[in-house]
């Protein structure tokens, strides 16, 4: 206190003055943190405003037709988003069909079956791999997976399903290597560590007492998982899957390399296709003309709307689980 008094011309601060000063600096700090927190909201609002204003030209020109048309012609400046939306939804859906059961399987393996000594290393490895950038999956898909898939798997798929009704259309045509199915497989590998990590965390919140009681009355491991753990952890598992779906929908680099960037809808999953993010990534920096740029931004707006809904549902599901397990954050 002596120093302070000296610096303020030997006016000895009274208790009230000191409290007042503290109060002011307190208020300033509070405002500072509040301001920083509002920056987050401002960024979010800025994204929405910039997407809407940027896509206004395209949306007002094409109207609802933008969503339903699959014409994408930069030369005549006619644009429709349907092929890209279709590709985004189908590739992500396929990826989830593959990755969710596998991810849950891995989580079950980690929580119930894995020898104790392996549990931590495998768990840590999965968490680390969830952080590997998507471009790594993309370059692997392009150089290693797609060529292998083209030579060894796709001809087989075409042959096996060639005479099966309905399925023959899904696996038809020449084996390109790149295409919808390849993109979906790469996506599923990419979100797999993510799903397993979240699911495992959720499984760990299931009270041991419940599981032990079930084992005690003679349930098998399968019955404990299916009747006790999964129902208890349901909202968390769904939330984790939705979170992964949000990632898959917006994933850019892993998909752009292997989907083929073809703006048409093909029944065959082996044919090249495109997604919203792949279209933007491939075309944006070379897009000429206001209408072209605006149409690409409009694609971004659609993607943002879709992922917002998916991620919001994921938040709600995960929050409800968190509340039930006593506010334990994952």
């Amino acid at each position: 206190m002596v120093d302070l008094a000296l610096s303020e011309n030997l006016v000895i601060p009274t208790r009230a003055a000191a409290l007042k000063r503290f109060g002011r600096s307190d208020a300033r700090f509070r405002l500072l943190t509040l301001g920083a927190a509002l920056v987050v909201v401002a960024i979010f609002a800025g994204i929405m405003v910039s997407l809407v204003s940027g896509s206004w030209l395209a949306l007002s020109t094409f109207g609802w037709g933008f969503l339903t048309s699959s014409v994408w012609n930069p030369v005549t400046e006619k644009f429709g988003a349907f092929a890209a939306i279709y590709g985004t939804l189908i590739s992500s859906a396929l990826a989830m069909i593959i990755a969710v059961p596998l991810g849950i399987g891995i989580a079950i393996f980690l929580t119930e079956l894995c020898p104790r000594a392996l549990k931590r290393p495998i768990g840590v490895a999965i968490e680390l791999l969830a952080g590997v950038p998507s471009i790594i999956y993309g370059i692997w898909g392009l150089f290693v997976f797609a060529p292998y898939f083209q030579v060894h798997v796709e001809p087989w798929l075409i042959e096996v399903f060639g005479n099966v009704p309905y399925m023959q259309d899904l696996f038809a045509g020449p084996p390109y290597g790149i295409g919808m199915f390849t993109a979906a497989l790469i996506l599923s590998i990419m979100v797999l560590p993510f799903i397993s990590a979240v699911t495992r965390d959720v499984f760990e919140t299931v009270p041991h007492l419940l599981k032990e009681a079930a084992y005690g009355v003679g349930c098998t491991t399968w019955e404990v998982m299916w009747r006790i753990v999964l129902p208890f952890a349901r909202s968390g598992v769904v939330g984790g899957a939705m979170l992964a779906l949000g990632r898959a929908l917006g994933e850019t680099m892993a998909v752009t390399f292997v989907i083929g960037n073809a703006h048409h809808i093909n029944e065959s999953l082996l044919a090249p296709a495109t997604t919203i993010s792949a279209t933007i990534a491939n075309e944006f920096s070379e897009a000429l003309g206001d209408m072209y740029v605006s149409s690409l931004v409009a694609l971004g707006l659609i993607l943002f709307a879709i992922t917002f809904i998916v991620l919001a549902v994921a938040q709600i599901m995960l929050k409800s689980l968190e509340r039930r397990s006593g506010g334990k954050s994952s």
Binding site: T33, V40, I106, V132, I135, G250, S277, L296, L311
Partner: protein, 279 residues
């Protein structure tokens, strides 16, 4: 009858255990294959010139020096800008806001931003900066990366501050420390390792980000430190080189991919070590 049921339950259980172990095996095999390809091809392309020479024209020798510089510069600025904002915002959520509706909204928005497609961030910064300045620049790339850093730091800061026991806050209050001082000198200090973890995770996240740089920082074939000009970065160079038809560009792309993965994994391991010390 009873025995039949018993046998069926055992079979179902057996099938399920095999499936579950099988899915773990599939996952692990896929990820091992990726790492194997990365190591084999990456080390094949790695040499001293990767760090000393700039990105080459097809057919000539070269390295990734300008891309490494660009990645480091842009990530550094993004972290310097994003960390204080994220930390303060996380502090508001954990210390002041907690149960207010505003904090609820901010938390929700932050979690959306955390998983929002990064290419959308690129579009946002493009419209905000590039379209107005009429040229691509490293400034725009830095801005895009900071927007990605902020939510990561907010989330970890809040989580770590919430782990600090309330008794510490009460102890600070009981000796008369005002709120602001108790936060800075007590809670921040107690959560320091955790907050650093968040920053490391944010660096790991942005060092592999490609999509938001595609039409903000663009690319630059030459050594450049001018933030007002386009700037090369590792992920963009990988994207460009891998999509080309030239063998030597492919080799450099693999080398770059190995560098990024090594950086990200090292950072995440450090982050985990710090985090386990915090808890």
């Amino acid at each position: 009858m009873n025995r039949a049921i018993y046998a069926r339950r055992r079979t179902v259980n057996g099938i399920f255990l095999v499936l579950s172990a099988g899915s773990a095996a599939i996952g692990i095999i896929a990820l091992v294959l990726i790492l194997y390809a990365l190591l084999m091809n990456g080390f094949g392309g790695l040499s001293a010139s990767v760090f000393t020479q700039d990105t080459p024209a097809p057919g000539s020798a070269g390295g990734l020096a300008n891309a490494i510089l660009g990645s480091v510069m842009m990530s550094a600025v993004a972290v310097v800008v994003g960390t204080p904002i994220g930390m303060l915002a996380g502090t508001y959520l954990a210390e002041y806001g907690r149960h207010s509706w505003l904090a609820f909204v901010i938390r929700f928005v932050n979690d959306i931003l955390l998983s929002a497609p990064s290419i959308i961030i690129g579009l946002f910064i493009y419209q905000l900066l590039v379209a107005r300045m009429h040229h691509f620049s490293a400034w725009a790339g830095m801005a895009a990366l900071s927007v990605i850093v902020i939510p990561v730091v907010v989330r970890t800061t809040e989580n770590m501050l919430l782990l600090v026991p309330n008794t510490l806050r009460e102890a600070a209050a009981s000796i008369g420390a005002p709120r602001a001082i108790s936060i800075r000198a007590v809670t921040w200090r107690a959560a320091r390792a955790g907050i650093v973890t968040g920053v490391l995770l944010a660096i790991a996240r942005i060092s592999g980000e490609t999509a938001p740089l595609l039409f903000t920082a663009l690319n630059n074939q030459f050594w450049s430190t001018d933030p007002n000009a386009p700037m090369a970065s590792l992920p963009i160079v990988i994207f460009q080189f891998a999509n080309s038809a030239y063998e030597d560009w492919h080799r450099l792309a693999w080398a770059g991919a190995l560098l990024i993965t090594a950086t990200v994994l090292t950072l995440s391991i450090f982050a985990r070590l710090l985090e386990s010390r915090q808890r």
